[in-house]
Every structure is written in structure tokens, then in C-alpha cells.
Amino acid sequence: MTSTAPPAETTTAARMKHLIAIGDLDAAQIELILDTAESLREIATRPIKKVPTLRGRTVCNLFLEDSTRTRISFDIAAKRLSADVINFSAKGSSVSKGESFKDTALTLRAMGVDAVVVRSHSAGAPLQLAHYLDVPILNAGDGWHQHPTQALLDLFTMRDHLGRLDGIDVAIVGDILHSRVARSEVQGLNTMGANVTLVAPPTLLPPEVDTWEVSVARTIDEVVAEVDVVYLLRVQRERMNRAFFPSTREYARFWGMDSERLERLREGAIVMHPGPMNRGVEITADVADSDRQVITDQVTNGIAVRMACLYLLLSGRGDEVEVGA
């Protein structure tokens, strides 16, 4: 089963115990994940899209916040590796069930799951979970904090299309303040040597963003011709009710990607979006359907990247060095 194995050469990347924040990974670890995903990608093209790698392992999808896309992606990833998947969903927090978060964690521990994929509205919940459980925790998005597998699949997609990550120019446009994707994206891109520019009205930039080692531009026109990637974030329409910006019309005018701006992109530059898109706000329909967008690739690559993460966290546990064995 050579095709299910990650890169044949052993790696010097340190073993990961959890995947909670991209900032916890160094470049070698990120590269290992991307290379592993590369070798697992082929499984999706087989008639029988399944390998026995994680047979007998139980992965719990603990989804404490509504999510369809990410949950399905993790579900498919685990099933393609033959893991048993249990779904533990609860809308809202553990509080709404009258149970403390600690008790939820202790219940999972008692059930003997081998890994927990956790999505929560509450920043920090995956890290808190890691204090109670000694199995790998995969953060599938926590509040505004982190969404590491999203960033990894984006890095994978960028590397796939551009051939490298080091030295590429990436503009992340939109609601950075409320975005876990942006936080993971910035950390991952910085680690891999890319140049990041954040583009947003000041109301949607994180406080003291000067501590982030990024450039900041005011409007999309300042950067559109000078980047290899335009990464558009979803803008929630309810933001305008709290004076973050006056209207979606005005937002689109200064921060939206349209066909005129598409024309000004560098040759080979790509347009990305983590989904779900608000067509007509941050992205016009013609851009969303253009040959520059790689948005559906992101979705496809997400499965391979999540397979790689599950594989690296779950297989060969106790094997501290030879991740690739």
C-alpha cells in the first residue's frame, strides 16, 4: 500500500500531539502535512476511495457550533482512512445542555475515542479540551481564534498552483477581526515565508495589528495588481448593523473583487475564498466563476489535508521520530 503512505523518506519534523493553532507548527511540520496530503490526494481518484490506515480507530467529531462544510470534510477524510466516526453535535455550548465543558470532555475520555475533531463557537475550547483528554485534538475552528486545517488546505492549494510558498505575495481581504481563518492564514503564511498584506477597513482589523508582522492596505485597489493570491473573506451582512461599514454596496466598492479588478491581477495570480461566499458582496459572480478562482480546489484539497492531519496525529502513536514510517 505504498500509495497510502506519506512521503517515503523519513522526516525531521517533530511529532505533533495536537493541531490547535497553526502558530504551534514550524515550517518542517507544515511541509510534512502538505507532502502527506499530496500523497493521499490520489485516493480520491480511485473507484474505491478508501484505505485501511486508521481501521479500528475512533474519531469523534465534536461539533458544538453549526457547521456543514467542515464537518462533512472531516467526516469524509476520516472515512477514507477507514476510521470509525462518531458525531457529537450540540447546538450552542455545553452550558445549554446543563453540563459543564469539563464534563463533556470527561465523557469523551471515558468513551475511549482516539481523536477528537472539535468545532466550537468559543475561542480556546480545543486547548481547554486538550487539558482533559490525552488523545489528539484537532481544531476544526474555535470562535475567532483559529481554523488550522483551513489554513493548511489553503497553503496546499497555493503551493499547488504557484509552485511555492516562500516569497509569494498574498492579500487577505475583508473581515479580519472576526475571522479565525485569517488568524490561521497569517500565521501559516508567515511561517512559510510568504508576504502577507491585510486589506480591510480599520473597523474590521484586529487591535494592534502592527504586532502581526504583516502589511496593511486600506482598499483592495492598493494591492490587487501586486499579489499572487487574493484571499477574500466572507463578510457577514449583520456587521453593517453595528457600524463596521455602512452598506454591502459600499463594502463591495472598496473591498470586493469584481471583473475589473480581476483584469489587473498578476499573471498566474489566483483568487481564493474559504466559503461560503456572499456573491455580490466580497466577490462578484463572474469572479466566482472565473478561471482565476481556485475555490472548488480548496474544497477538494481540504479532504486530503484533513486526511493527512488525522494520519499524522493518529498513526504510529508512540513513535516519536519516524512519522513517515
Partner: protein, 434 residues
């Protein structure tokens, strides 16, 4: 006749600037004399060699949680925590259930505290009925009750409406009472969970900007100056608030202020663990704020250290950060934290530190004979501290019913050995005497 002689202690009394070795004689609950080498006579001798003897500590800002939230604390356990921390007087805040907006509730709290007998309790009345920020509570009824309430606060809830706040200040002056507004502009802190800044930015937690406190304090200072009424600013947390209060005091505006031990010591970068015991309102700020608060406490811009002792049952703190309630224990660690971090580092001399726990708070409101110093004829409220005691904060060893100390595992220097309320030991040799 009962007679105690506290022998050879370092007597530190801010009311007389006394800081020298002396003996304190207590007869029938009152201080009889203070001086060197007092004769023992028939007195029981309490050897205080190497120990510090001070007036009993006064806490302006305490949550005893009774009535209503006895899963977190009650008057008995909160009083025990106070005694263990060297306090002889505490001021429980009004955010109980029912709210302390009537004499009945204030007197119930007071009566229960008298039954427990470990600490004198001076309830804080609500500014508005039910803490709703709409109608004034009956200040006069509360003031003329047996508890003599002369401090009003909706602590935890700001009085957002400037008209209500202005009238509260005006009306309170009828009874020489002080109004203490929880300084937070609520529209600037919608959903806020920690200090807004570089750390919240990375942790993805909604920010509680300093401006939300400063805007409210500035408004209240202007209102207090306008109507000529007294304002007390609770739990000052930012350098900007310090500047506002300093300027107001220079202009003669009648304002007092308090700071908590945790805001003097802890900073928001600790929150990277998402340990909900660090969640508090106002939130932990940054080094720059801590430095300003320490200077303000030293120079008297801030009058008092107040604990904002806020117990929460473990099941409420064992939540995601977002869902955990705000608040930290404080009574049992307050003086030790200030001593360890501010006295040992030279920010405060011992006499000033003691003043901020005694005469400082008693200058803000009427706390009876507390904070008046060790003088012949006064009731003997005193605290004896071992300055050499080094101890590690262990939540399960605390007297409080709750465990939410942010100092768990920290090594602190100094610990109260004895606490006396009217000459009776409430803490003796480190043991609470129920």
C-alpha cells in the same frame, strides 16, 4: 476581665505613622495601650517577635454571594476567608438575589454576619432597583437601617444613563453617601471577553477596550464635579483612568478610587491558556497599566486596595472561556500579593501598603471603628502578619467555598497569623476560629 498583650511586634499604624517595635495591650476587647516594654501583669502574652501588627484590614469591595448564590460562597465561608486574609471589615456588594436594594436585604446580610461573628459587614446598597439602571433604590431607607448604608453601587452593572447617574449622585449627598459606579460603557463592551489589545487579537477573543472604562469614569467625574457630590471609582484598571482621577483630585473633585490586587499584578498575556480563572471584569490589562496603577497606589491617587473577591462555583468556571463568569477570589491572598509584588520590590513601603488596606478604605465610607488605628479606647481590630511566611497558594486549602483564585500555584510572602475582631481571635495561629 480578659487581657491580651501582643509582645514585641513591629507595630505599623498609618494613623500615627508608627512603624516600630512595640507592645499592644488589649483589655476586654479594646486597645488599652500601645508602647514599648509594657508590663505583662496578668495578661495572656501573644509573642509577636518578628511579626507585624497592624489595624485590621478593611475591604471596600466583596462579594459574599448570600443571599442567592450560596453555591459559590455564603456569609459564613466568605467571613472565614476574610478572617484568614486579615480583614476585620468587608463591604459586600449589592448584586445578590434578591438585590440589596432594600433595608430588609441589607439587614438580613448584616444579621447573618453577626451570627457568624468573624468579620464586620457593611453592606453596599444598590444604586437602582434590581440593578436595572432605571429607578433609584431607597437610599434613605438603607441609610437609616441598622446597617447604616452610606455607599451605593450597582457593581457588575454600569449605570449607563447619565441622567440616572447624575440624580443618584445628587440624591446620595442627602445622606452623605458615596456613589460607586461600575465604570464600563456597555455599548463599547458588547460581547467583550478580555482586554482589547495585541493579546486579544491573537487569541481571537472580543476586546474590552480601555476607553470603555475611561469614557465612563470621565463622564462620572464631570457629573460629580457638576453636582458637587462624592464619587468612588471601583477596580481601576487602566493607565488612562489613573490620569483622569489624578487630574480630578488636583482640581478638587471629591473622588476616591480603589484597585484590586489582581490588576496590580496580573496581565492579559497570561490568558493564552484560556484558564477561566483569569476572566474578570474589568479585564486584566497590560504591563503599562500595571505600572501606572502601582504608581497611583503609591502616590495616593488610588486610595485603597479592594479585593473584588468574586467567588464562582467550579462548575461555572469549568466552561469555555466565553461562557465562564467573570470574577476572582481575593480576600485570602490580597495582602500577601501586594506585599510580595509591591512591598518587596520597593514600590510601596510597608506603612503605605498597610494604609491602603486600612485608613484608605475607611476614608471612602463609614466602616465604624475600623481603619482608625491602634489607639487606647478603640475596639481592638487588629491583624498580625508573619513577614517571613512563604506559602504556595493551593485552591483547595482556601476558606472560600470556591476555588477560582488566579494565584493558584504562586509563591507568596507574608500570611496573617492572627486576626482580632473587638479583641476576639477570628484567626489564631493561622486557624480560623468559628
Amino acid at each position: 476581665m480578659s487581657e491580651l498583650l501582643f509582645k514585641n511586634g513591629r507595630v505599623v499604624d498609618p494613623t500615627s505613622d508608627h512603624d516600630a517595635t512595640a507592645d499592644v495591650r488589649v483589655v476586654d476587647g479594646d486597645v488599652a495601650e500601645v508602647g514599648p516594654d509594657l508590663g505583662a501583669g496578668t495578661a495572656e502574652i501573644v509573642d509577636c517577635s518578628g511579626l507585624i501588627v497592624t489595624p485590621g484590614f478593611v475591604d471596600l469591595h466583596t462579594h459574599l454571594r448570600e443571599p442567592g448564590f450560596e453555591d459559590a460562597e455564603d456569609i459564613a465561608t466568605g467571613s472565614a476567608a476574610a478572617a484568614a486574609g486579615g480583614f476585620t471589615a468587608v463591604c459586600p456588594m449589592a448584586n445578590t438575589e434578591p438585590v440589596c436594594d432594600s433595608a430588609a436585604v441589607a439587614e438580613m446580610v448584616w444579621r447573618r454576619s453577626v451570627e457568624v461573628g468573624l468579620v464586620d459587614v457593611f453592606p453596599v446598597g444598590a444604586i437602582t432597583k434590581g440593578l436595572k439602571g432605571e429607578e433609584l433604590a431607597e437610599f434613605g431607607e438603607l441609610h437609616s437601617s441598622v446597617t447604616r448604608v452610606d455607599m451605593f453601587s450597582d457593581d457588575g452593572m454600569p449605570v449607563a444613563d447619565p441622567l440616572i447617574m447624575r440624580r443618584a449622585l445628587q440624591y446620595a449627598s442627602t445622606f452623605d453617601a458615596v456613589v460607586c459606579n461600575h465604570s464600563e460603557d456597555p455599548s463599547l463592551t458588547e460581547g467583550a471577553e478580555m482586554n482589547e489589545g495585541a493579546v486579544s487579537s491573537v487569541l481571537g477573543l472580543p476586546g474590552w477596550p480601555r476607553e470603555a472604562e475611561e469614557v465612563m469614569v470621565a463622564r462620572d467625574l464631570i457629573l460629580a464635579a457638576g453636582v458637587g457630590a462624592r464619587l468612588h471609582v471601583p477596580h481601576v484598571s487602566t493607565a488612562g483612568t489613573v490620569e483622569l482621577i489624578r487630574a480630578a483630585k488636583q482640581r478638587g473633585i471629591p473622588v476616591t478610587a480603589e484597585v484590586t490586587p489582581h490588576h496590580l499584578v496580573l496581565t492579559d498575556d497570561l490568558i493564552e491558556t484560556y484558564d477561566a480563572n483569569l476572566k474578570v471584569n474589568p479585564p486584566l490589562r497590560t504591563e503599562r497599566d500595571v505600572t501606572a496603577l502601582r504608581e497611583a497606589l503609591a502616590d495616593g491617587t488610588i486610595d485603597a486596595v479592594a479585593t473584588d473577591h468574586a467567588p464562582h462555583a467550579p462548575e461555572h468556571k469549568d466552561q469555555e472561556w466565553e461562557h465562564a463568569p467573570c470574577g476572582m477570589l481575593g480576600l485570602e491572598t490580597a495582602f500577601a500579593v501586594v506585599y510580595t509584588e509591591l512591598v518587596e520590590s520597593g514600590v510601596l513601603d510597608l506603612l503605605t501598603a498597610v494604609a491602603r488596606f486600612t485608613t484608605g478604605p475607611s476614608s471612602v465610607r463609614d466602616v465604624g471603628e475600623h481603619g482608625r488605628g491602634l489607639r487606647a479606647g478603640e475596639p481592638a481590630h487588629l491583624t498580625v502578619i508573619d513577614p517571613e511566611a512563604i506559602w504556595t497558594v493551593t485552591p483547595s486549602d482556601l476558606q472560600s467555598k470556591s476555588r477560582n483564585t488566579p494565584f493558584a500555584g504562586r509563591k507568596l510572602t507574608t500570611r496573617p497569623v492572627h486576626t482580632l475582631l473587638r479583641g476576639r481571635f477570628t484567626l489564631r495561629d493561622g486557624q480560623v476560629r468559628v
